[in-house]
């Protein structure tokens, strides 16, 4: 029943995208509610009082917060199809490790690339390059990080593909040229319906991020 599952979301959020992909992979019907982050709903504040952030999944009235925690919850509850985590404990630990790495590095480093200039931006660019290099290494020859099928690491990382145009344009470098295997992987993911309908176009995200950057700059003055 659709009213059993509600997702509090914000369309440009890479973290919200992770949850949408997981829900789609599992074929779960849900009610998606778009939040205005400058005017957070009472429901959001009630369901995530600690962080007051999206995404929040509400299942049978009970909230789950933090995107990777939500994705694992979805995987564990709707375990009838499309497993996002492998069954072997060592492989599970490895998947969690790389999903956690992505959480620690990609958002903050990427934000510095599109949000700053000069020396700070250069350092961030190089750090991001290191991240992509490591991730390409982890991907290896596999179709997905999850092997033959989409897994936790794929779900954790693919939303940031929507940032690539912004990163390339503001950072003045080509991710496609420097990391062709990573970009090939991203394109493969985007061919899946679950991903295509959850991850917006890079141009739409570019417009959004530039607006956000302007707002942040104004706030600092």
């Amino acid at each position: 029943m659709a009213d059993e599952v509600i997702l509090l979301d914000f369309w440009p959020s890479p973290f919200g995208m992770r949850v949408k992909i997981a829900l789609a992979e599992k074929g779960i019907e849900y009610e998606g509610r778009e939040e205005d982050l400058s005017n957070k709903s009472p429901l959001l504040l009630k369901m995530n009082p600690v962080h007051k952030q999206i995404p929040v999944l509400i299942h049978k009235g009970k909230p789950i917060s933090e995107s990777l925690i939500i994705v694992q919850y979805i995987d564990e509850v709707w375990n009838h199809k499309s497993p996002l985590l492998p069954s072997d404990p060592y492989e599970r630990a490895n998947a969690r490790f790389w999903a956690d790495y992505i959480d620690k590095k990609i958002y903050s480093t990427g934000r510095l690339v599109w949000g700053t200039t000069g020396e700070v931006q250069d350092r961030a660019k190089n750090e991001l390059r290191e991240c992509f290099k490591l991730l390409e290494g982890e991907l290896g020859d596999k179709t997905y990080f999850g092997g033959k099928n989409l897994g936790l690491v794929d779900v954790a990382l693919i939303p940031f593909y929507s940032w690539f145009y912004t990163l390339e344009t503001t950072g003045n470098f080509s991710i496609t040229e420097e990391f062709p295997r990573l970009v090939d992987w991203a394109k493969r993911c985007m061919q899946r319906e679950s991903v295509a309908k959850s991850v917006p176009s890079q141009y739409k995200i570019y417009d959004f991020l530039l607006e956000l950057k302007k707002k942040l700059e104004l706030q600092q003055q």
């Binding site: 600690v50 299942h59 009970k62 789950i64 917060s65 933090e66 925690i69 939500i70 694992q72 919850y73 564990e76 509850v77 404990p89 060592y90 599970r92 630990a93 969690r96 490790f97 956690d100 790495y101 490591l134």
Partner: protein, 231 residues
Amino acid sequence: MAKSELKLIGRWSSPYVMRVKIALNLKSLEYENHEENMDPKSDLLLQSNPVYGKIPVLLHDGKPICESLIIVEYIDEAWLSAPSILPSEAYDRAVARFWASYIDDKWFPSMKNIIIAEGDEARKPYLEQMDEVVSRMEDAFGKLSKGKPFFGGDRIGFLDIAFGCFLGWLSVIENVYGRRVLVEAKAPALVKWAERFAVDPAVKGLIPETDKLAELSKSLQIKWRNALANK
């Protein structure tokens, strides 16, 4: 059945390493302890954790697992014998993971900042942050323990381990650098929980002495302050 070879790369003073030791103790697992001096880092550590070069690392039959909470989940999944460390219900697991993540986000960084800070005024905001964590965890304990002695129920579990591992360092903050944070007046349930946690058989002997940690904190203070100055 061949006995699994377990080696833990760690340090006596690290709360993150303690998490793994508690989990191993809960499952009654024997392991070889490899004490790291961290300066310089051993080849074994750098090879086993090339991404971060940090402890703890658990080597199971030579294969490395990194990041303390990931290691704890691994131990729970690889050794299915009782007791279970993670809760059995998916929703309870999500809640436990949420609070463990909150602690990692807010608790130790505050302690570190208190040690780095120069003077009471500079320490104040971080102590207030710790007050907030205590308040939220007291609240969470009420909801999650459901009248039982631990976050995990009758026995210590994932969240007890994630939070309790910091009791040694908390004592250093309270006695040396700041003021009392985990107090009866503000967090009566947590104060009792901490006492129970410290004497749990899986934890006994693992919480370092406050004096030893305080001594170590002096050199860490210099190291951390220098690192900030050189940024």
